[in-house]
């Protein structure tokens, strides 16, 4: 995979190590293991990043970065209101 988002390696005494490229879904951060000729899920043309199958099915772009900004803003608001 070109510009993989990560690398995974399984080491076992029963055989050679198994290796796979990975990417982290830009929308939900699920880890996707990339195997040759496998359906990768999807590619978001809004954030221009790889996304997992379930996020591709949603048909919208809500990046994890944006979700964190929303969660942090909500947390600051609740803290300011004395609810946290």
């Amino acid at each position: 995979m070109r510009r993989a988002g990560g690398y995974a390696i399984w080491t076992s005494p029963d055989g050679p190590a198994k290796e796979a490229d990975t990417f982290t879904c830009s929308h939900c951060q699920r880890l996707v293991f990339v195997q040759p000729k496998q359906d990768l899920g999807g590619f978001c043309r809004v954030c221009m990043k790889h996304i997992c199958g379930p996020c591709a099915d949603l048909g919208r772009c809500l990046t994890w970065e944006k979700q964190m900004e929303i969660a942090e803003a909500r947390y600051r608001l609740r803290k300011a209101a004395g609810l946290e």
Binding site: R3, G6, E65
Partner: protein, 147 residues
């Protein structure tokens, strides 16, 4: 952006998490988990293990582990790392499921920009969980970065 390493152990339990990485109640920062290694330290045997990496929305209860800064000039980590859990954190979204034989070891390394990121909100975190496992001692190492 300081980087830290921590090692966690879990003694015999079939369900309690191996390690929890959490934002503290105050002074939290975003935490990026970018590398972990998991495996079993018990005598070799053929047992099916399933590790899951998941988000947590409330803190776990366990023994605190002090993360070591990779660069000794960095300050102590704000993030909380826990091992030998007595109560798991409240489970959120699963990020990965890794089925393993007991004899096997797994390592994942993220490329820059593809880490698992924990938002800077109190008690948000990530744990390495073991929903299907024989009650044997397991060990894991994590590397993370604070933003």
């Amino acid at each position: 952006m300081a980087r830290y390493s921590a090692q966690a152990n879990r003694t015999a339990s079939a369900t309690l998490a191996l390690v929890a990485l959490e934002a503290p109640a105050t002074g939290m920062r975003r935490i990026k988990l970018y590398d972990f290694v998991i495996g079993c330290e018990a005598a070799p045997a053929d047992n099916p293990y399933l590790y899951t990496i998941g988000r947590t929305t409330a803190a776990a209860t366990g023994t605190a582990v002090t993360p070591s800064p990779i660069d000794l000039a960095d300050a102590a980590a704000a993030a909380l790392v826990k091992e030998n859990m007595t109560t798991n954190g409240t489970a959120g979204v699963n990020l990965a499921a890794i089925p393993l034989n007991q004899r096997a070891t797994f390592r994942w390394v993220a490329a820059p920009g593809s880490e698992f990121v924990v938002p800077a909100t109190a008690s948000a975190g990530i744990d390495i969980n073991t929903p299907t496992m024989t009650a044997l001692a397991i060990t894991g190492s994590i590397l993370f970065e604070e933003q």
